[in-house]
Amino acid sequence: MVYLTRKAEFSASHYYHNPALTPEENARLFGKCNNPNGHGHNYTLEVTVKGAVDPKSGFVVDLKQLKEVMNREVLDALDHRFLNKEVPEFITQIPTTENIAIAIWRRLSPKLNFAQLHRVRVYETPDLFVDVYGEA
């Protein structure tokens, strides 16, 4: 089994707010991230796939294909967007790094029939990142 990781970057704005909570609770829970005008990050995405090396090509996965799927399913939807207002998942869910990683997993996993998705890692900053490995 060999693991291959492809990185990408996207920049987006967001804010944290749960409408079921009072303004005071939102402010306490989310602090500065609760500002409704939003703020932004340069996110780094790492997508790791795994598999046996194909003896014909020497590849675990066709990187071109992987890049295309990442661009189409993730970057086109998230890059230079206000996540809360423009990305369907975050109309109802808070766009935390955890939920962004899960949303990216759910976007990629059904489209990666040519590779086995192992991990999605999302860096919000170099000092904060989230990993998801699917439902397993």
């Binding site: 944290y16 749960n18 909570l21 935390t96 955890e98 899960i102 997993w105």
Partner: protein
């Protein structure tokens, strides 16, 4: 879906690697420059990884403020700008980054209850890093 959240913090500390179980010559052979009697220092990068289901109310594995407060109060306060050899946990154990990893893991495991601790990873320099995930860890 379960998520793993990793937070990085930095602290600076000095240490000297020297074991009382070895002769001076063995210490020099084992630890090389790190055996310098006057000690030396590093900027340690500590990564704490916690995991759990994502809370629907907050969208988070645990409050980042709680995790940051814990790391600041229990880890950075303890180790930042200290000589590791003078701390009680290194009275007998050599303050290698392996042992530091285990000490920090134990502090987080004992004191931070808001999420499951997966592992502690420390970069001693950009070239050296160490991980500890507990005795049952991977």
């Amino acid at each position: 879906m379960k998520a793993h959240l990793t937070r990085r913090h930095m602290f600076s500390a000095s240490h000297r690697l020297h074991s009382d179980h070895m002769s001076d010559a063995e210490n020099r052979a084992t630890y090389g420059k790190c055996n310098n009697p006057y000690g030396h220092g590093h900027n340690y990068m500590v990564e704490v990884t916690v995991s759990g289901p994502v809370d629907e109310r907050t969208g988070m594995v645990c409050s980042l403020v709680d995790l940051d407060d814990f790391v600041r109060d229990q880890i950075l306060e303890r180790y930042d700008h200290q000589n590791l050899n003078l701390l009680p946990e290194f009275a007998t154990d050599v303050p290698t980054t392996e042992n530091l990893c285990i000490s920090i893991y134990d502090i987080v495991k004992r004191g931070f209850k808001a999420a499951h601790l997966e592992k502690v990873r420390i970069e001693e320099t950009m070239m050296n890093s160490f991980e500890y995930a507990g005795e049952e860890g991977r």
